[in-house]
Symmetry: C2
Subunit: 208 residues, 2 copies
């Protein structure tokens, strides 16, 4: 709270009294501050701007849809149509994944092509936590391969991306086993979590 | 709509079929694409990150508060406490301006010091349209000089910044006279505007 009055993580204290926050800002900062490292932003200005648009899409569209679905309580819906409302939220979240998949470089396998870029990093944690919906909310119901209808191509692209990101050593080494996430996500699934993100979702707002 | 399916301006078509959008992304793009021009982002990585945090603050905090106040209808409040609710929204908007002012370089006169940076550009249009509240919503009620109490220093810094930004030739040449804005803002003030931003505000959401 001293470093970031917004009460959010991640927060990076660069030097005493010099704190930075907001995930996307921190990724840009690390790129600017350590230019000798492997670059994670596309070099071309247009591609770099697209990367920023789709990183922002994760924050402004994907994460709120993820949390609206995760925190939804079927018992809260009027006229016992909780299951129907749950399915609407499921469809809204799937629609964000499809929109993201359609914005990818067609070849891939990563978002912008063969190289990892910041937009992959921003999306990865959410994509790799899809199991929470299986566990708590009856699944995302993403079509099986060959059964995606008009969305088949986009779902295939999504699966290619997911496999490419999920198999990276850097991702595997920074992902805990599911059992450690379960108690945390149980609180979100029961809509009793007290993080700023949980509260904002409860109030119908986006990422705080 | 062809260039930007989100239906928002500004949208920049860099080449046929290559469109970019989101104000903050476009500002970064112009910096990346025209490095020979006068730089508008701080060079130091920490200062540049702070500039991004506070540009994002305008989008995620200032603009929603501006529109919640502007579009509020006193007649919509229960128990005839419309004026009280209006005053709460006024205070919330003033609080965002104070928070922004306190984040500024103490010397100034601009946000990051003597040079114009993107964060000044992002904030300028909203700051310079404060007159709409005088016209439509009974004023912002920012304290007169010397009457700011514990906020005196921050309001003084705000006034210094506002004068520095508002007097710039580039700002004056890209600002229309008030009469041209009035019919547009009348629709917002009556809460009948149909822009995506107006609709998002009506639904209790942030910048779409």
């Amino acid at each position: 709270m001293r470093s970031n009055p917004r009460g959010l993580v991640p927060t990076l204290e660069v030097a005493p009294g010099k704190a930075l926050y907001e995930s996307n800002v921190l990724l840009e900062y690390l790129e600017d501050a350590y230019p000798e490292s492997q670059p994670l932003r596309p070099t071309d200005p247009f591609d770099r701007a697209r990367s920023r648009i789709w990183s922002d899409f994760v924050t402004s569209r994907v994460i709120p849809a993820f949390h609206r679905l995760l925190q939804f309580q079927t018992s809260s819906a009027p006229d016992k149509d909780g299951e129907a409302r749950l399915d609407v939220l499921r469809g809204e979240y799937r629609a964000k994944l499809l929109e993201f998949a359609r914005a990818m470089d067609p070849e891939g396998p990563l978002f912008a092509g063969s190289e990892l870029t910041t937009v992959d990093i921003v999306m990865a944690p959410w994509a790799l936590r899809s199991w929470v919906f299986e566990r708590f909310k009856g699944g995302l119901r993403i079509p099986e391969p060959g059964r995606g209808g008009g969305d088949e191509e986009a779902w295939a692209r999504w699966r290619t991306w997911l496999a490419a990101v999920g198999s990276r050593e850097s991702v595997r080494k920074t992902t805990s086993e599911e059992e450690y996430y379960v108690p945390i996500y149980q609180r979100y699934a029961d809509d009793i979590a007290q993080s700023e993100l949980a509260k904002a979702t409860r109030d119908g707002r986006g990422v705080p």
